[in-house]
Amino acid sequence: MGLKIMQKAAFPGWVNRLCASCRVVGPKPLHGQYVFDDIGAAEELAIDYSTSVLPPKKYILPQREELLYFKGDQIEAVIEEASQPTVIMGVHTCDMHAIHFLDRVYEQGYTDQHYLARRENTILVSIECLRPCTESSFCKDMGTLSITEGFDLHLTDLGDEYAVDIGSEKGEALLDNLEEVSDPTSEDYQRVNRVIAEKWPRFHYKLDFDVTELPSLLTASANSDYWGELGDRCLACAMCTNVCPTCYCFNIVDEVDFSLNAGQRTRQWDSCQLDEFATVAGGHNFRETRAARQRHRFFRKGKYQWEAHGLIGCVGCGRCAEACLVHITPVDTFNQLNLRRRKATAEVK
């Protein structure tokens, strides 16, 4: 929808202005890492963060969310009222792709109104990543290290200025009456192009094969010994799925007050890595071993979602790899499976 140029010196003032008019969340430093949290003033915002412990997903699909209130037979749906939008500052492009993935899941079939209300009430200000955020990220492989649409505003660091791509009217409105924003010159367009061209070689491919081969690689690896090896190591702690920007499984629980007939029905994040996830009454567990659950996890990311939604369910953010205490990572897993398949094919030949 157009490009604007903002003086970096004006950025803090702009953020402060936003803070005064709506809820602003963004990355903040914490114990050597970063977390998304409410921003009260521009100085709290660490826009040049590496990656965050939890993805910004939590503002659209919160860890715990009340769905219904009830009192006796009266039930009322809790749909977030859009009194004030939430601006999420500094969303990395991988997380943007992840949000688009969630949009697809929650809007297809039965539209989840709770998700939708939050989503519509969210303004996404994304930022172009200029260098890999951690050792574990592999966004280049997954094609998520850039984004061309879906944002409300998108920032690109040009040194003393930000190039601000406008993606929506909502985004444009955030810049209303801002003096330090100017129209771009043709030189500015070239500068943005240059920054993006220069960033490319700073990122490296981590997978030994092209991502389009991932679904077929997994199909061929259903019975690989590798799952058993992962199962021995995996702690089933569910950290990997809980930090994942595209995981969306949830559990629903009821809570009551002391009258026992009033309370709320709440959903909370769940994880396929937990023993109870696929267990039914009577105790049968459809994925009893950690190996089966690890396989499910990687298949879900690399194959099932592709088959169900036409999108790969992994955006290459590397959070799960950073979180896992026993170093189970998507890159290693996919590369190992690839290696073993190649070896097996070579043997057949």
């Binding site: 412990v53 702690l235 569910a238 009551v256 026992l260 109870e276």
Partner: protein, 255 residues
């Protein structure tokens, strides 16, 4: 329906869990309207013997405890273990790994034989229990939740999930990334991951999840600089009873 009568009992413990129950009243005074407390030695003089639900705090550490526990079991329709001591043996079970006479002598010298004691055990080792509220101390909100579930006629269950789940949901920076260690991956969650939230690794006070991958966690502890002894100490502060039972089991399987 008349109010269910409940009673509190304590065995070897610090009574912190009963205090937590008193603290729960600060924000849940309605509790007093929905149940009738007939016995609570720490807080009241009245003693009623017709209770349906017995909350038992503390470990069984001597023969006379067994008699008392059995009497409680006879009366109560439902027995709930309150806190780590009752649920797991708690810190009391640390001494189970040491020679008992030695322990007694260390504390009481030549007067040791005046004091009866034997290895500390959870109450479930002596009587059947319907439910346990884990933790050292228990979590207030969980206690209130369990009472509500009992009032609803449900059997209270604590979800069989490791602590890491709620720790991550809170968005905590994992203490392993802060140069410390934690038993979160093998410990039953439900305490809102309070220790990692306050910067300290979990010590396992709520007990093991049903299928912990202990071997793999030991490797992770070692990788983070813990010696075998340190890892052992970590896993035996609250989990000693469970660990010794597991060791017995594996030894049994080996035969």
């Amino acid at each position: 329906m008349s109010k269910p009568k409940i009673a509190f009992f304590d065995f070897t413990s610090c009574e912190g869990c009963q205090l937590t129950v008193i603290d729960a009243l600060q924000t849940n005074i309605e509790l007093l309207d929905v149940v009738e407390i007939v016995q609570f030695r720490e807080a009241m003089s009245e003693k009623g013997e017709d209770y349906q639900i017995a909350f038992v705090e503390g470990s069984c550490t001597r023969p006379s405890d067994e008699t008392r526990l059995k009497k409680i079991r006879e009366q109560a329709a439902m027995v709930v273990a309150l806190g780590a001591c009752a649920h797991l043996g708690g810190v009391n079970a640390i001494r189970n790994r040491q020679e008992l006479d030695d322990v007694r002598q260390y504390v009481y010298g030549d007067k040791a034989e005046w004091f009866e004691t034997y290895p500390a055990r959870p109450i479930s080792a002596v009587i059947p229990v319907e439910a346990a509220i884990p933790g050292c101390p228990i979590d207030r909100d969980e206690f209130v939740m369990v009472v509500k579930q009992l009032l609803q006629g449900r059997s209270p269950v604590i979800p069989d999930q490791p602590l890491c789940v709620e720790c991550k949901l809170k968005g905590n920076v994992c203490v392993y990334l802060r140069g410390k260690t934690c038993l979160g991956p093998i410990t039953l969650g439900g305490c809102d991951a309070i220790c990692p939230t306050y910067g300290d690794g979990c010590e396992g006070c709520r007990g093991l999840i049903s299928k912990p991958n202990i071997e793999s966690l030991k490797n992770a502890l070692e990788e983070h600089g813990l010696s075998f002894e340190e890892a052992q100490a970590k896993m035996t502060m609250f989990l000693n009873y469970q660990m010794m039972e597991l060791e017995k089991e594996t030894a049994g399987n080996g035969k």
